[in-house]
Symmetry: C2
Subunit: 338 residues, 2 copies
DNA sequence: CGAAATTAATCAAACGTTTGCGTAGTTTTT
DNA sequence: AAAAACTACGCAAACGTTTGATTAATTTCG
């Protein structure tokens, strides 16, 4: 019943030559004559020979596999990035294995360890929300396993990373609102622990001060990104002595919570909302953010994968400078509203 | 710089015993004395020994890897299912490799071949839209690689599959509309080539005839699931001599296209819409389908993965009956509208 | 006390492929 | 015609681990 796959040895035996010659023949090694080579290839073909990957991986000490660790596979951003990573890896004949940390630091540590044991050739990581120590990644250095971070990256430069400049994006968002005439702009930011929150704050301040406006810290409200937290933040704005006329939100979900609440409070028309992520459904909404920052997950995934594959195949990974790639983000104006 | 991982041989040499003893010691083989066993384990621990997976896989001829082939990683349904598959596999210490067919038959065939070469222990597949031949899967039989289909399954029973009964779901949807008093119900169905379209039609007819209503075939319109196609279908209903008061759509996207168009045509209040998928954003919309069929992608992924792992580890896969698992679907009433 | 059983370990082969080195046999060079 | 070079292939080791067969030493039992 169970057909055993053909091996090089069998081909060798049939052709009365050595396995090494078969191997070389199949790889077009110059030391195999054209006649023999063709005989080998033809027989291999007709026996439907398929190299035993496990054996090759083992022999070469390379797995042609890259690991991807990220918080949540089912989030739109990540699933899109994954799609790109998969596509790029396939082109270069690499296999991808995924694992999700579910935003848990302990789990992330375990997964890194597991990936190492799987002997992945390299790792692509988007770190979990509560990761603040990075020695589990540093340990990979001694095994020559390169790591490229993407999107959720550690807050320092001496690693390889691909990310979107949240700061620049925030500047764009705020500038857009300023250009539309808004002078009091609120921001619902994420928890202060997140680097991304820091960046948003920086961008906000940069845009405000560049335009010679006074920065009012009370217009930035930190929020846990839940619906409840968003409502609390919304109330702060509604009751603010300098009530803002526009609000920048941490992401599209927060924007949705916000708009839902603003509608309920019957003040939805008093605010323009700009948000991050540009999720596909945004354009289907009735009351939408007037714009959303597109962070190009596919592109980010693509770049990250290519950098990693470069690192894997670079002869001297030690001497490499760090790839610090910023993907530009774009403010997508919701044309329905124009 | 590059630390070579510790091997069994090295441990053996240090302890002056044979590699086989080390291997057995680490695996609690009874023929290794307790004292030696502990010595082995301690040394392994302190040298941070990690078994070389590639070597084990090669030696065992098993990869502890399952392959997953599906149309599009970034679709919500699939990314959720994947999330489940990953979680289940991890529990049983299996690794998962993914690949996307992008709904292309040729690509699917290639991927199946690639997975076979990767020597996956089993395969989880959601077939591409234009797959109508299945010999690329049948070829796996002779290699003892079990296949479990999920969600998008072939139209016959002699395979393992997990899916949602679209037919039952459609019955539920139509019954719900009938209970709400609708007597003329339209359906925007998918292309006739899709098995899922067939099932929806069956369900529709079953509900209609069970309630002793006359079945009017012109109330089912096939559609290519694009926005353009949806608009054409919508127009057919709007201009229908028996204009329906409710419409069942193939999925949430079609529902969105439909509602968008109905709004533009100023007739959105003349129709109740019920749809499939229950995408998370549905509840954020202003004009939503009044209900959507939840197909529990996480559950489906979970079940499919477990069945596959069962098959992989069953001693006699040949004698197995076929798993034909139907996951119940639920009609989720959009409470915002009630 | 000798045979049988148990314990604790070793030996060697095997998994499939790759690759450095060696070696016939042939051709080219001087 | 001898030396050098090239062609086409074979040999054997190596990668790390597992496992069936074997052996040596110890214990148990009648």
């Amino acid at each position: 019943m169970s057909a055993k796959p053909t091996t090089i040895k069998e081909i060798a035996k049939i052709l009365n030559i050595s396995p090494s010659s078969v191997s070389r023949g199949l790889h077009d090694h110059p030391s195999i004559g054209a006649v023999t080579r063709e005989k080998i290839k033809q027989l291999a073909q007709s026996l439907n020979y398929q190299p035993n990957n496990a054996a090759i991986l083992f022999q070469k000490g390379k797995t042609y596999t890259i690991g991807v660790i990220l918080p949540e596979l089912s989030e739109h951003f990540f699933s899109t990035a994954i799609s790109a990573i998969e596509d790029e890896a396939l082109k270069k004949n690499y296999t991808v294995i995924f694992a999700q940390s579910h935003d848990d630091y302990e789990q992330e540590v375990k997964l890194v360890e597991k990936m190492k044991n799987q002997r992945v050739d390299g790792l692509l990581v988007s770190i979990s929300k509560d990761t603040s120590k990075f020695d589990h990644f540093e340990r990979l250095n001694s095994f020559n396993i390169p790591v490229v971070f993407f999107d959720r990256i550690p807050p320092f430069k001496n690693v390889h990373y691909v990310a979107c400049s949240i700061e620049n994006a925030t500047v764009k968002a705020v500038n857009y609102l300023l250009k539309k005439g808004h002078r009091t702009i609120g921001m619902i930011n994420g928890p202060t622990t997140l680097f991304a929150s820091e960046e948003r704050k920086e961008g906000y301040m940069q845009a405000i001060t560049f335009n010679r406006l006074k920065f009012d810290p009370s217009l930035i409200v930190n929020c846990d990104l839940t619906e409840k937290g968003t409502i609390e933040a919304a109330n702060q704005f509604i009751n603010h002595k300098r009530k803002p006329t526009a609000i920048v939100t941490f992401n599209d979900y927060v924007a949705l919570f916000l708009i839902k609440y603003l509608k309920k409070a019957n003040v939805v028309n008093e605010f323009d909302v700009v948000s991050f992520a540009n999720l596909p459904f945004i354009s289907y909404l009735d009351h939408t953010p007037i714009a959303s920052i597109e962070q190009y997950p596919y592109l980010q995934g693509q770049k990250a994968a290519n950098i990693l594959l470069d690192l894997i195949n670079s002869p001297n990974p030690e001497s490499q400078a760090y790839y610090n790639t910023l993907v530009e983000s774009d403010l997508v104006i919701n044309s329905e509203k124009l």
